[in-house]
């Protein structure tokens, strides 16, 4: 293995959000990740909407 191919930690080896380290069943993990992504993206959209509304505000 050359220096460019250092072994990497993968998401699977990282602790999941519920704190358990044991692997979740693949399908459940996929769904959990999707739900979490969806939630975070909604948070992002909400933050952006808030900022944009402020940007285009006209007094009155």
């Amino acid at each position: 293995m050359g220096p460019g191919q250092a072994p990497l930690a993968t998401e699977d080896s990282l602790p999941s959000f519920d704190g358990s380290r044991g692997p979740l069943p693949r399908a459940r993990r996929l769904v959990a990740n999707l739900m979490l992504s969806l939630f975070l993206i909604i948070v992002m959209i909400a933050a952006l909407v808030l900022v944009l509304q402020n940007t285009f505000r006209v007094a009155g």
Partner: protein, 884 residues
Amino acid sequence: MDPFARLGRTVFRYRWAMLAGWLVVLGAAGAFLAPKAPSVVKSGGFRVPASDSIKASEALERDFHGSSYSTAVVVFQSPNLTVHDADFQTAVSDASARMRNVQHVRAVLDFTNTANPALVSKDGHSTFVIVDLNGTESEDQVTVGELRSQLRGTTLQHYITGAPAVNYDIQLASEDDLHRAELVTIPLVLVLLLLVFRTVVAAVVPLLLGASAVVLANAGLYLIASRTDVSVFSLNVASMIGLGLGIDFSLIVLTRFREELPDAPSVEEAVARTMQTAGRSITYSGITVFLGMLLLTLLIGLVVPASVSMGVMLVALAAVLVGLTLLPALMAVFGKRIELLRVIPRRRPRADQRTVVWYRFSQLIMQRPWPWLLGAIALLAVIAFPLHSLATTGADSRLLPSNLESVVGVKKLDTAFGANRLTPIQVVVKTTPNGVWTPEFLDALARLSQTAAADSSVEDVQSLYTISRDQGLTPDQYRQLTPAQYPAGPQRNALSLLVDIDGSNDSAVLNVFSRYDQFDSRHQDTIYRLRGTILPDALKGTGYSGYVGGSGAGFLDFRDTEFSRFPVVVGAVLLMTFVILMMFFQSLYLPLKAILMNVASIVAAYGALVAIFVYGWGARILGFEPNGHLSVITPPILFAVLFGLSADYEVFMLSRVKEIYHETHDNAEAVAGGLARTAGVITAAALLLLGVFGSFSVAGVQTVKEVGVGLAIGVVLDTTVVRIIMVPATMRLLGDANWWMPRWLKRFVPELKEGPAAAEPGSSPAVPVAAMPLARLRGMAGAAPQAPVELLGGRSLRIGRDAANDIQLLAPQVSRFHARIDVTPGGHALIDLNSRNGVFVNRLRIQALPGSRLLEHGDRIQLGVGGPELVYEQAAVSAPAPAG
């Protein structure tokens, strides 16, 4: 311990409390303070206190109830009928009657109740009705909506325009712009954030940070605006720069955190190291922006620019506050989970091609700094050149999309009545009560009317004198006029717009209609002539006072005041920045260079904006009709925002450069290394900001479009020409003088320590010699045959190509000062001095400065891929070195 590192550890320890605290603070600010900000900020803000135009406008509002700020105008047209047809007249009188019933309408003046021929066009197919409103600025806007619904059944073509209608339409257009921006910006920014931050979890952080800073700034603006006048532009600008700083700060901090995570023994240590380096950077850049904008706010003395800088100032403060507390708390809670929900594969740790490219490019520039620098200056000068034809305009219907009713109305008026009927220069002449009806006053009014009408740019003049003359009165009859000659009726109604006949009879108005548009320089020259000679000459020896007002004059007063104060205030802001950066960098030339380049990129952005919006280059692509003007508020907004952003980049980049210089004392190496190590982050931030600002260029309201395009251009110039070419070239030319500061000055300038407190050879904690294991480095493949070097406790050792190193290795992969081995309480630590090709231990690349790696017996150290190798052996252990 370093205060920033200590802060990081404290936040880590109380991370949940910190999160909960912020939740409460942001919740309270977001629920109770921030939402009220829009209701206390004000539109307008273009009036200059105690100026001629304000005195005229106050007199007009008090005595004539007719300032252009509160007068709506309704244009009625018919292709077949003329105003002499009964159907036309009935339609207009019915419409007027309906409008009189609307709340906040004080008076409706049309050609039937005033018999004023000026209200009818020459061909007779058009007329306009003056609707005098008495609400506040925002009430008047609501009234416009009500008037429009009252006119819905009218058979004649009709258009409501005038200042309140324009303001109302700006509101409508801004709502449209918001929807369009949401459609464009949100997907674009989401995709860019995911590309740049690579995981969904990390991508959320900049938006949380930006939104929190905006909420806090809004809350601050609410508290300030409920005590003093603050313009609505403060909110707009605060959210633009809030998003910008949120993105910048998160990138700077998170990138560092993710760099530190794999090497640090714990998440707490990673948070502490991140705060010690990146946390310090964002603090100083935030403080620089805060203090600069504070100065601008306090000195400029005009509501709009002061509000804009106040918005930037508050949001910078909020961003630093959030960046130093909420951000590390989030990092502490996320820890390694920051890498969760990856959307872009992890970049290979080695072979960061972009970094190499940046590094090589800066080396290339530093080989021939003069041609590159002169080329870059010439390029910026060319871009800035159009600035000489800068022409500005105030809030005007032309800044709006041309399909809006108020804009169409202005065009119809211009066609039917000749241009500029709505925007006369209004000269108010004041005397004592009932003094208007004296021969002396009437003579002065006649003189004024005649000399004003004789001006080459004046098309027409309207006053008590011209009306009497048109009625056929002889000069003697005119001098004998009394108010009793005007019984209640149409004539008196018409006259009440020119003399306060129903009030104290102490003032008269002269409406001067210019041949040119109110923002045309010839219109403005007429105002200067009226103020300079015509009015003083006509009133000489009379004791009457006179003021030249009207919307064109109001704009002119604002523009002249703004442009005369701006350079002085900007100078003060730059001086302040210079002092802060001097303390930060402990250098005389670096801060000077930084602010000069800051100004250069802003001036070039101004030039490019003039080329686009005044010359109309690329107008079709950007989708607007060029009107030859830039909005008068664009320059201060651009200055405030671009100043903040480029100061941010500069501090971030130069602190990395300084970090490396302190390690290597090699100027060229430090510049190339600093540029390369910050390149990814700054490029990513620039891309994101380009996405945000670029999307404002779809706005219909031209001011927003100008600001969006200007910011995008500024960011591009700042991160390309300035950062990639000018910074390395000038730093190469200055050489070690970059870091020079006179000894006497050093005594006065307290040092603000920057960057990591990386273990300096002399400053590393004293380690008892006896406690250190004796160790040696043994040369392996590629290393020059060299006797093993003993590493003794208490002594650092430097490796590189330069002869000044303790171990000199002459291989192409080796940088001049490549790596260092420090003695730490934990043992020997290997440090990559931001080498070009990296340092590998057992084939894994170690983190560059300020990262380090503790060496263990048998570790194989390689300098660059395929470079020389050394083996670290602790003398106490006599195990054989592993085979190469």
